[in-house]
Symmetry: C2
């Protein structure tokens, strides 16, 4: 008899390009609960041919990373009985792009640093234990620590064909 | 003499917890260009003790992933002279959480699928070449393909102490 429990978390999104570099996304969480649709838009700055009508795509990624960890810290503080009144996180997220001649550039991560300031009377050891649990429970950090290949298909003559 | 060029892309964010499970973030891109600050907020659904005042953290992550790739497809279509009039992307992003007894759950990615529909007269081969370049140029896909450890520090008696 096992006491292992699992649940799935699934998101569906549809993105549509508009204007010069703007993208409009409609999405929703469909597991473990169906939540209200969200609408989000990205754009690029004038520097990159965009019109600055919305935040850049990386702003969304960085916000997801920071808030996912913050959520897990608060959620698990109850589970682990390590009391915190609140949490602030400061993040510096750095990438590098490299290009050769006229080729498009290739990107790579340089350094992701998250500084966590818990408003808590818990000891440093307890706060470390809480953060360690939050890192493992954070869906985004877990994805960075144990990534899986992203699969892509291209629509051709009405059918989607895998290209990876 | 090398024709390799590089540039850095850096984001700074500050997240602050408010309410039950809401997080408020102020961030900005500081390299390669300084862009206007963005304000974003996350919350959880009632199911998880939140109040549903803002999208879930994973909504931001998924939007970043989808729009970053869409941006690169349009940006590199010019560079590679593979003309597209627009692009739609449909995504299904799946994780699993697993817990044992009373322990907090641990997360892992299950499947990330992006279906790309380019409005273009370019051949399937040209579209595949464009998508391949976009995947390598997309900062988020490149992070999932070649991740680096996320570093964490905890504030203790006024100093940040590394805990990884």
């Amino acid at each position: 008899m096992s006491d292992i429990k699992t649940f799935n978390v699934t998101y569906e999104l549809r993105g549509h390009s508009v204007g010069k570099m703007r993208n409009e996304v409609i999405g929703r969480q469909i597991e473990p609960t169906i939540e209200p649709e969200f609408n989000m838009a990205s754009d690029e700055a004038g520097f990159h041919g965009g019109e600055g009508t919305a935040p850049l795509p990386l702003a969304y990624f960085c916000t997801g990373l920071v808030t996912c960890l913050m959520t897990q810290i608060r959620a698990f503080s109850k589970r682990l009985k390590i009391n915190i009144r609140g949490v602030d996180v400061t993040a510096i997220i750095r990438w590098q792009a490299k290009s050769k001649g006229r080729d498009p550039y290739e990107a790579s991560p340089l350094g992701f640093q998250l500084d966590v300031d818990m408003d808590s009377d818990a000891s440093f050891e307890e706060q470390s234990r809480l953060l360690e649990a939050a890192k493992k429970g954070c869906f985004i950090e877990a994805t960075l620590a144990n990534p899986i290949p992203v699969k892509h298909r291209i629509k051709s003559n009405g059918n989607f064909i895998g290209v990876d």
